[in-house]
């Protein structure tokens, strides 16, 4: 058996074990909140599966670690031990250790570390004994003889259990030459004979040296279904043999070999009905294609209606196929949401706050790539909400609110986007503190005349932090600016709405997929550019007097109470034949992580879906451009990198 074939199941094992750990964690948390005893079984089953698979797939360290946790769970399950906070705590930390072990397994590193050794010791201590060394216990050596007499009388029901005496005797023959004698004493009269029952017995002489345990092993499945005696043949000289070296069950080195071929490969587990739907669609596509193919031979104008119908069908299939293929990369956001109950519990305990976590829209599906990258920004928002947003029970009571704060995670579709909201009913943003800090940092000169919206935007500035004391929770050197950059790298935006005393809502808007974007096509001279719809705030036409020119040459215009820089795309990209007078063209106000800017273009051509082609892969990285797409007429249009151009805009504003 090649290890290459088995390596694929090792990968599956890691994936399902990580899912099992998620289940263990969420069940432990539910148990902590007084969930029912059925949860213990769920937790046990998950641990049991990991243990069973770990040794099979070449992770003996993980098997022995899980064995400790499983033993503890077994006592709880069997009612020998009541589940309490310290046990839940320890099991939660065991889950963390196992996650770490799986991560190291993927990276091909040694599985045990000081943390896992420590927790393993605690598990053993909780069970009231020292941590076992993890070695296979030596087998007790059986006695040995030159020849054996075996008396074997199966019970009547043995055949029904699937054990065939003939098979057992044949197996015994594998140990050496046999002399078999049937015992017919219990054979009933033919009229009373039930052929599904066993009536015979055998006396067998094994005429070869063998160990007792090897003989017993032949009968290990039927010991309770037969009368069996295994005795050394009296005439033979019995010499006790030295105990043989214990056989190792699994050859550790061989098992480890399978791990080498285990470089992490990215894979998606797809529900079978999605695949079936895809196959079905391809089937329909083939039929439509065959129908259209008939027009190739001869075209008769009378069949025009049929051709149109075929083309309509083709368009529909293409659209459905596109959606289905995208759907394959789509996974429910639940896998991200599920890590929060634990995080919220740990954080709120640490900070002495009472927090109720509500999850909504867990089944909302996201592109796998987006899903993998949205976790960190969300963790940051949740940490912030608990650390800075929600108040302590005392302060909540003083503010006339319930002592328990609510943190809500919500995911839903809106248009072609996924919206993820992190909201809390805490104190909301503290305008004065933010303004004071921003002035301190030199970000602004004063808060007068600034809209609440503009003040809120300040927290997304690099290096901004309002916490008087940096806690070990939020203060990890990562600010809201990083959250915004991470989200913007995914083609999304983060906005905040906050009301003093009532709480804050952070809204992350993400594209459904990174492969296709909805965009507005804008004409600039002879070129077309695509501006991602998600980042467009508004399009406005300016009168010449609304444009202010700065001494350095930068241009600003007033938009909803703030001055925004104007970026002329024809200058940025060096397009010829573009409109120059501000009143002839159009300003597209876009929002990116650098704030808002107005992009000056000739005009809008239309809205379309653009399939993103990587510019880096086909050419090289170009500042201000995130990719390219092919328009319906076959020409290439560049996609504007809004995050990039807004950063350019800020620089020109500063100039």
């Amino acid at each position: 058996m090649s290890t290459g074939g088995l390596a694929q199941f090792q990968q599956v094992f890691i994936e399902e074990s990580l899912e099992g750990l998620d289940t263990m964690e969420s069940s432990l948390l539910a148990l902590d909140e007084g969930g029912d005893g059925e949860l213990v079984h769920t937790i046990f089953r998950a641990a049991h599966s990991i243990k069973g698979g770990a040794a099979t797939f070449g992770f003996p360290e993980m098997a022995s670690f899980t064995h400790e946790a499983e033993s503890l769970l077994d006592e709880v399950r069997g009612g020998k031990r009541a589940i309490d906070k310290p046990i839940i705590e320890l099991l939660l930390r065991s889950v963390d250790c196992l996650r770490g072990m799986f991560d190291r397994a993927r990276a091909g590193q040694p599985l045990n570390d000081s943390a896992s050794d420590g927790v393993r010791g605690e598990l053993a201590a909780m069970m009231g004994r020292a941590a076992p060394a993890g070695t296979t216990p030596a087998r007790r050596a059986g006695d040995q003889a030159e020849a054996w007499i075996i008396r074997f009388h199966p019970h009547a029901g043995m055949l029904a259990g699937g054990n065939d005496p003939l098979r057992l005797i044949r197996e015994l023959a594998g140990l050496g030459e046999l002399a078999v004698e049937a015992d017919l004493a219990r054979l009933p009269a033919l009229a009373r004979l039930d052929p599904s029952e066993c009536h015979l017995g055998w006396s067998i002489e094994l005429k070869a040296p063998a160990r007792r345990e090897d003989i017993a092993a032949v009968f290990d499945w039927v010991v309770d279904e037969c009368d069996l005696s295994i005795e050394p043949k009296p005439s033979a000289a019995v010499t006790p043999a030295a105990a043989p070296a214990p056989a190792s069950l699994a050859d550790a080195a061989a098992a480890r070999g399978t791990r080498e071929a285990n470089a992490e490969s990215s894979s998606v587990r797809v529900a079978i009905d999605k695949i079936d739907g895809l196959i079905n669609l391809v089937g329909e596509l083939v039929i439509t294609q065959a129908m259209l193919d008939t027009f190739r031979e001869e075209f008769d104008p009378s069949r025009l209606a049929l051709l149109q119908q075929g083309l309509t069908q083709l368009a529909r299939h293409a659209r459905e196929l596109q959606e289905s293929v995208m759907g394959i990369r789509m996974l429910p956001i639940a896998s991200v949401f599920n890590r929060f109950p634990r995080l919220v519990r740990d954080l709120s305990q640490k900070l002495g706050k009472q927090v109720r976590l509500e999850l909504h829209g867990e089944q909302t599906e996201l592109d796998k790539t987006v899903l993998e990258k949205i976790g960190d920004p969300m963790v940051h928002l949740v940490r912030n909400a608990i650390d800075h947003g929600l108040e302590t029970p005392d302060r909540r009571r003083a503010a006339g609110k319930g002592e328990t704060g609510t943190l809500k995670l919500d995911a839903y579709h809106r248009g072609g986007y996924i919206v993820v909201e992190v909201s809390d009913d805490g104190a909301g943003l503290n305008r004065e503190a933010i303004v004071r800090k921003a002035v301190e940092r030199g970000l602004i000169s004063g808060g007068e005349g600034m809209s609440d919206e503009a003040v809120a935007e300040l927290i997304f500035q690099p290096g901004f932090s309002t916490a008087a004391v940096t806690t070990d929770l939020s203060g990890r050197g990562v600010g809201m600016d990083v959250v915004r950059r991470n989200v913007s790298d995914l083609g999304g935006t983060v906005t905040i709405r906050s009301k003093a005393g009532q709480g804050s809502v952070f809204t992350i808007t993400l594209p459904l997929t990174l492969a296709i974007i909805d965009g507005l096509t804008a004409a600039v001279g002879e070129e077309c550019y695509i501006v991602p719809l998600v980042s467009i705030v508004e399009s406005v036409q300016l009168k010449p007097e609304a444009l202010k020119t700065m001494p350095g040459g930068g241009e600003l215009f007033r938009f909803r109470g703030e001055y925004l820089p104007v970026l002329r795309l024809h200058e940025l990209f060096g397009c010829t034949g573009a409109k120059r007078a501000i009143e002839d063209g159009l300003l597209i106000v876009v929002e990116g992580d650098g704030g808002r800017v107005g992009l000056f273009v000739d005009g809008l051509v239309g809205q379309q879906q653009a399939v993103v082609k990587s510019l880096e892969a086909n050419y090289r990285r170009v500042q201000g451009v995130s990719g390219a797409t092919i328009l319906a007429d076959g020409s290439v249009a560049l996609i504007v990198d809004v995050a990039g151009v807004t950063r350019l805009g800020r620089r020109s504003k500063a100039a």
């Binding site: 199941f9 599966s49 069973g52 099979t56 797939f57 029904a160 259990g161 699937g162 499945w221």
Partner: protein
């Protein structure tokens, strides 16, 4: 070769068993819990059933007990895939009608040797 039903809720374990047995030329049907295994057993005849003990929906022990009530599965070898820490499960499985067991962890060679043992 033989028609074998492999029952385990763990996709990796089930996959490994099925892959190994197919490699040896057997025809393998997979089921992810006892209930689905019973459904499969109703629709097909099998020469051998390999079943995990701990499974959601219906565990391996209940599955064996139910299977043995069916005349067509009297005498068909059924092996429990069990872990060494649960010796009592072996006996519980036997009492429910299992033929024998295969102790996890096992490697493909051990699996094939055991299957050969029951199929002869």
């Amino acid at each position: 070769m033989a028609k074998i039903l492999a029952v385990d809720d763990s996709a990796s374990m089930r996959g490994m068993v099925a892959y190994t047995l197919r490699g040896a030329g057997h025809e393998v049907t997979e089921a992810e819990n006892g209930q689905l295994a019973l459904d499969a057993a109703s629709a097909n005849g099998f020469d051998l059933v390999l079943a995990d003990v701990n499974m959601p929906v219906m565990d391996g022990i209940s599955m064996v007990r139910e299977l043995r009530t069916r005349p067509s599965y009297k005498g068909v070898p059924i092996l429990m895939l069990t872990t060494e820490s649960h010796t009592d499960k072996k006996m519980e499985g036997k009492a429910a009608g299992a033929t024998g067991w295969l102790v996890k962890p096992f490697d493909p060679e051990q699996l094939l040797a055991t299957v050969k043992r029951v199929l002869g």
